[in-house]
Every structure is written in structure tokens, then in C-alpha cells.
């Protein structure tokens, strides 16, 4: 089927048939959700229609939720017919923060051909409403900003029954702000307790725990406490015991854990979770418990913890390997434990590796800290500065054209007389990366002032042809 042919999904109830989903092409032609199928066929000739299959939809959504569980957050559940809800607290740092988490999520889904909208908010209700009613692809509501973000949203975002919504509309209530300003008692009398409960959930006055999705193949160990626990040492003790049980279970199956979640149930029926990611599969109880205990301070036990659950959310096969005898070869130190500890604290870890490019800012690339060693290094024999400015800074220069180094230059308000200089080292633009650089040239010079401070300066352009650059001077680096 061609991609530009309009496609709609038809739902049936008795003899009534209506559109329950439409693609972009169909929407452009004026087809709307809820429109009768016969009307749609009258508007668009040759409309492709398929029958809705709610069971298959639900199964696909659950598969998607499981993927999100492994990838993004320890607590993920299916939200209604068309959404996934997850508790990102304690897990967003692994993706680099909330912004990067949801933009990565939306982009990842787009890469698989799915259009998604995502929002991060303090409460499930708010995130549910904002995702469905704002046009932006991703929204992050700041902490404490829920009330401001939702007041103008229409009331059908409140997860109430259609009858209730209809009744409220009849009364003239259109937005969440209007509804929340109304006296609660008459509302409850007329529509039941549901309206007040949904409002409280939206504003975070009532807790709304997410029951996380689980599958039988996930390895999970749990411990219930008769008396709620709260002290950090006690938590650490039981984390170690749980880790011991989990690693024993993993050993039976020959697996190592790549990502594990500790979910903590408090007595006030709220949940907190800690996620620990590992660079390579691990089954060592000491390492795993150190990673989890390292972040106990992030747990707020409140009135006490009554249940702790430890799940190996992502497990991979782990073979035991023989360590070479240190008699002959020098033992290579494995740094992955250190990388795991620092990475789980939210530090950005990386190595750099050369890229074959003459343009200095493109000549290195970040790779993962535990990636295989490349053995490559930079081939340039010319001296390179130890600090490179992120953006080259304009300098005022007195220099002879076309190929003389500067005699005097002023950088950051200080005038410097050049005593010695080397250059030019000509660097050409890389037209195969950016076509605009076809003629671009930079002439780099090493200059040294009277005090011995050495700088790396360049002139945009070759000093003769104006096509090659603006002939302005920039300072790009500081030598050690």
C-alpha cells in the first residue's frame, strides 16, 4: 500500500461503524475521529479501511510497555487504551535527565515508525492530561508547576466517565480550573466521589501508585517486613540480603544483571525506586550491593518501609571466564566496577578517540568508557594546544598579508606583542561533510608573546582570496 494513501481504522458497535483512528494523510483530507464510516467514504474516494482489533492493540501496547520497562524506568504500566505511564524518579539520571529521557523516548519511537507524545509531571493525572491535550511532542512540567500547567485544560482530560463529563458540560464547566474552584460537596452529591478523587490525584493531594508491569520471566526477589524499617543501615542490610538471593537465582540460570531495580513500598502506599545500570553483565553480590547502597541516601523512608523488591530488569548471559595467571602476563585491571559506580552517580564518563579530520574541533570523538581499545592516536606532528576554546574568540591583529604571523594581537582586552611565531599550517574545509566549506581555509599560527605565553591563532581565509574566508583572526587554543 502506498504511504500517502489515507488509512483509517474502523470500530464497530452493533450496526454503528465509526473512525477510531486515522493517519496523517486521512486527517489532512478532513477525516476526524468519531466520524461515521459511511461519511468518511463519501468524503474520500478509495479510502483504505481496516477493522479495529482492540485485543491486538492492547497486546502491542503491553509489549511497548515492557520495552520501556527495560529501557527507561523501573515502574511502568499501561495507561488506559492508548498510553503508557512510568515513574521516572530515580531512573532519569541514566538517560541524562528528564528532558533527554523523554526526547530520547519520543525519538526512539519515531525511529520505529510510531508517533508519540510524552510529558513529565509531578502526578500521573497531570502527565496523562498534558500528553493528550498539548500539541508539543515533549513537555516537562517543573516540580510544583502542575497547578499552573493544567488549569486551562478541558475537563475531559480528567479520566472521568463520559456521562459525568457530559453532565459537567451541561452545567457550564469547561476547564479544570473552573471545576477545581467549585465547592466540592454539591459536586460529590451530584456526580459521586469520582470527580473529587480525580481532581485530588491530578493536583497530587492524593497518592496514586502505579502498579508496575511484570512478566513471568523477570527474576524478582522480595521481602516483607512485619515492622516497617527506616534506618539507612537496616535498609543496606536488607539490600545486601536481597542481592544475595537475586544473584543466587541468576546463577541458576547462568545470567548476569545489566540493569536492576530496587522498588520500595512505604507504609503510606507510595513507592520509590532506585535503578542501577551496569556496563557489563554482573553477578557479583558485592558490586551490585555497593551500587544500590551507594544511593540509599536518595530514599525517603517516610513513616517506614514495609516491602522491598529487587528485580533484574535486564539480564544477559554471563559465562565464567578463567583469569590468566599473573605469572607470565601482566594482569589487566578491569575498570568496569568503577565506571558503574561513577556512572550511577550521574557523572558523564567517556573516552576520546581520534577522528581522521584536520579540523581541530572535529578531530576527536567521545566513546563509551568501556568500549574496546582502538589503539589509534593522532598522527599530527605539529604542536597542539592543551586547551581548546569551545568557540574560537575574535582577536584584533596587526599582521602582514598574505602569510605573515601577527605582530601584535589583542585578546580579552590585553595587548600582546608577538616575539616568536610558527606557521602557517593550512587547514582546508571538509566539503564532503558540509558543502559550504568547499573553499574555506584556515591558516593556523603558533604565537608566543614576551612573557612566553603561547597561543594558537588562525586567520579565516588564505589572505588572498576572499572566497576562502572572512580574513578575520581568531584565537583557538592555549598551549601549555
Amino acid at each position: 500500500m502506498p504511504a500517502d494513501q489515507p488509512l483509517v481504522v474502523i470500530s464497530k458497535s452493533g450496526s454503528k461503524r465509526w473512525i477510531s483512528a486515522a493517519d496523517t494523510a486521512a486527517r489532512k483530507l478532513g477525516l476526524k475521529l468519531g466520524m461515521p464510516a459511511s461519511k468518511a467514504q463519501a468524503i474520500v474516494a478509495g479510502l483504505a479501511m481496516i477493522d479495529a482489533d482492540p485485543a491486538a492493540d492492547a497486546a502491542a501496547l503491553e509489549r511497548l510497555a515492557l520495552w520501556a520497562l527495560r529501557q527507561y524506568s523501573p515502574v511502568v504500566a499501561v495507561d488506559g487504551m492508548d498510553g503508557i505511564v512510568m515513574d521516572t524518579e530515580g531512573a532519569d539520571h541514566l538517560q541524562g535527565g528528564e528532558d533527554l529521557l523523554i526526547s530520547g523516548l519520543v525519538n526512539g519511537l519515531r525511529g520505529r515508525g510510531l508517533t508519540a507524545r510524552a510529558a513529565v509531571a509531578d502526578t500521573w493525572g497531570a502527565a496523562h492530561a498534558i500528553t493528550r491535550l498539548t500539541s508539543a511532542g515533549t513537555t516537562v512540567v517543573p516540580v510544583g508547576g502542575v497547578a499552573k500547567a493544567v488549569t486551562r485544560l478541558p475537563i475531559h482530560c480528567l479520566r472521568l466517565s463520559p456521562d459525568t463529563i457530559q453532565g459537567l458540560r451541561v452545567m457550564g464547566v469547561e476547564t479544570v480550573g473552573e471545576l477545581s474552584a467549585m465547592p466540592r460537596a454539591p459536586l460529590t452529591l451530584r456526580y459521586g466521589p469520582e470527580v473529587g478523587r480525580r481532581l485530588d490525584q491530578l493536583f497530587g493531594r492524593v497518592a496514586e501508585p502505579i502498579e508496575p508491569l511484570r512478566t513471568p520471566e523477570l527474576i524478582e526477589v522480595a521481602r516483607n517486613f512485619q515492622e516497617p524499617i527506616g534506618a539507612a543501615e537496616t535498609i543496606a542490610k536488607y539490600v545486601r540480603r536481597l542481592v544475595g538471593e537475586l544473584t543466587a537465582r541468576l546463577e541458576q540460570k547462568g545470567l548476569g544483571v545489566r540493569r536492576s531495580d530496587l522498588v520500595i513500598h512505604r507504609v503510606d502506599n507510595t513507592r520509590q525506586s532506585i535503578r542501577a545500570g551496569l556496563a557489563k553483565p554482573v553477578r557479583d553480590p558485592a558490586r551490585l550491593s555497593k551500587l544500590l547502597c551507594d544511593r540509599i541516601e536518595k530514599i525517603d523512608p517516610g513513616f517506614g518501609i514495609e516491602r522491598m523488591v529487587l528485580v533484574a530488569i535486564m539480564a544477559e548471559p554471563l559465562e565464567e571466564r578463567q583469569v590468566a595467571s599473573s605469572l607470565v602476563a601482566e594482569q589487566v585491571v578491569d575498570v568496569t566496577p568503577l565506571v558503574d559506580i561513577l556512572g550511577n552517580r550521574g557523572q558523564r564518563l567517556y573516552r576520546v578517540t581520534p577522528v581522521a579530520s584536520d579540523v581541530p574541533e572535529r578531530s576527536m570523538r567521545r566513546i563509551g568508557p568501556t568500549d574496546d581499545e582502538t589503539g589509534a592516536t593522532w598522527a599530527a606532528k605539529w604542536p597542539r594546544p592543551s586547551r581548546l576554546l569551545a568557540n574560537p574568540e575574535r582577536i584584533d591583529v596587526t599582521a602582514l598579508l598574505p602569510d605573515q604571523p601577527p605582530a601584535v594581537f589583542t585578546w580579552r582586552g590585553k595587548r600582546r606583542r608577538v616575539k616568536r611565531a610558527d606557521g602557517p599550517e593550512r587547514i582546508f574545509g571538509e566539503w564532503w561533510i558540509r558543502p559550504r566549506e568547499h573553499a574555506a581555509v584556515r591558516d593556523y599560527f603558533v604565537v608566543e608573546d614576551e612573557a612566553g605565553e603561547r597561543y594558537w591563532v588562525y586567520r579565516a581565509g588564505d589572505g588572498v582570496d576572499a572566497d576562502t574566508g572572512s580574513h578575520q583572526w581568531f584565537l583557538h587554543g592555549v598551549f601549555g
Binding site: I341, L342, L349, R384, P385, L388, G477, F479
Partner: protein, 252 residues
């Protein structure tokens, strides 16, 4: 008051003190510079592993820390094993470090948001053991933090190098405050080596050993790190005039 002139008794006392300090069980190994004049000034004949060494720049180097970072890279290049380099401002240009003998495969960068992150990462790296050196770029190094780093380094025998760099040149007076580091260096740039032709020769540094435990201060005019991270003595008398002028204008 009785005066003891018994060398054997003093030796015995020294041994006992060394035993109490915990150094007797494991002789602190050192990393020599390979330059006799410098190594003679350092107790043990080199920079000790399992100790904290502090390096700052002079003049404009207090802000960019270019020479100090290269000096630290040279030391790290001569150590064995992986190097953890903790920083907050990622403006290092690695090709320069590679020219000082530090292979990119050996260095793991750890970028944090605050100085505290750098301190915590450094401490974790030091207590991990098995690394060749742990380098950290820091603005402030309070006494307590430096002592923690020194203790962590002592325990595992990993060398800790702190490159101090400030936001403004005037803040560099902070370098006068005491820390628990074993040695403290200030590396400032000098006019490069004289060449018979026009051009910039090998970079020269003035390395001031400002503090060393159980040793005396000294200063050396050295040639910057070569391709294996080694420095050499490279004094030059022809720049005495320039150097005097420069010393007057130096910060701190």
C-alpha cells in the same frame, strides 16, 4: 633535660614512627622524573605513589591551567595503568596530551557538574585501586577534602594529581591556603627554547616546588614534556631580563 646523642636510638625512634604511620608495611614507591636535580629534592627520589600532588599554573595559567594540565599529563603518562581524569569544564584538547605520551585508550574522563562531584569521583577512583593515576581539575581544594584525597591515595597507593584552575586570576591567591597535599607545584610558562632560525622552540616551564613534605622548596627551569612525558632541565641565561619582569607581574 638530657641530650641524647645516640644515633642508634634516633634510628629506632624513626622506625617506630614510620611503623605507626603505616608506611613500614608497604614502602611507598616513587615515580622519578628522571632528572637528577629534581629527584634529589624529592624525598624518596621522585613523586610518591599513594600521595596527593597539587599543580597550579602561574600568570594566565591560573585560569586556563594549560601548562599545569600538560605537566600532570606527563606524570600520568609515565605511570602504569589507566588514568581517571575528573573535570567540570571539558576544554582539554587531547591531541596535546597524546603528544605528551598519554595514549587516549588509557584515559577515562569523568565529567561532573560541580567541584564536589570531582572530589567524590576522585576519591572513588583512588580507593578503587588499580588505576595508574587519578587527575582532577578543581577550583577550590579545602583542607578537609585534600586530606580525604591524601588518605584515599595512601590506602590504595594510587597517585592523585590535582590541577588547580581558577575563574579569575585574582582568585589564585587561594593557592596560599594550606592543604594536605604531599607536594605542591606551580608550573608557569617561560619563553621557549632559543632556535637558530625563526620559530617557536621547545616550550619551557618554570616549575616551582612550593611545598614538599619532608623536603625543601626549589625551582627548576625545565623543558616541557616530550613524547614520552619526560621533562628535562633547560635553563637559559639569555632570558634573565624577561624573567625578572615577568616575576614582578605574576599573580599571588
Amino acid at each position: 633535660m638530657s641530650r641524647v646523642h645516640n644515633p642508634r636510638m634516633i634510628e629506632e625512634l624513626r622506625d617506630r614512627i614510620a611503623h605507626l604511620e603505616g608506611g613500614a608495611a608497604r614502602r611507598p614507591a616513587v615515580l622519578p622524573f628522571g632528572v637528577r636535580d629534581i629527584d634529589d629534592r624529592l624525598p624518596g627520589g621522585g613523586l610518591s605513589h599513594g600521595a596527593l600532588h597539587e599543580i597550579a599554573g602561574g600568570g594566565g595559567g591560573t585560569v586556563d591551567g594549560a601548562a599545569a594540565a600538560l605537566f600532570a599529563a606527563g606524570i600520568a603518562a609515565r605511570s602504569k595503568g589507566k588514568v581517571l581524569w575528573c573535570l567540570t569544564r571539558p576544554d582539554l584538547f587531547f591531541p596535546a596530551l597524546a603528544q605528551a605520551g598519554l595514549h587516549p585508550d588509557r584515559v577515562i574522563f569523568c565529567e561532573g557538574d560541580k567541584d564536589e562531584d570531582v572530589l567524590a569521583s576522585m576519591e572513588e577512583g583512588l580507593s578503587f585501586g588499580g588505576l595508574g593515576a587519578v587527575v582532577g581539575e578543581l577550583v577550590r581544594l579545602p583542607m578537609v577534602s585534600s586530606r580525604r584525597l591524601q588518605l584515599a591515595a595512601e590506602k590504595s597507593g594510587t597517585m592523585a594529581l590535582v590541577v588547580r584552575r581558577w575563574r579569575r586570576q585574582t582568585e589564585a591567591s587561594d593557592f596560599g591556603n594550606p592543604t594536605a597535599s604531599t607536594t605542591r607545584w606551580r608550573v608557569s610558562v617561560l619563553p621557549s627554547e632559543e632556535l637558530p632560525v625563526a620559530g617557536v622552540g621547545r616550550a619551557r616551564w618554570l616549575a616551582e616546588l612550593m611545598r614538599v613534605k619532608a623536603g625543601e622548596c626549589a625551582e627548576f627551569e625545565i623543558g616541557a614534556c616530550d613524547a614520552k612525558g619526560r621533562v628535562c632541565l633547560l635553563p637559559s641565561s639569555s632570558h634573565r631580563q624577561d624573567q625578572a619582569a615577568w616575576r614582578g607581574s605574576r599573580a599571588s
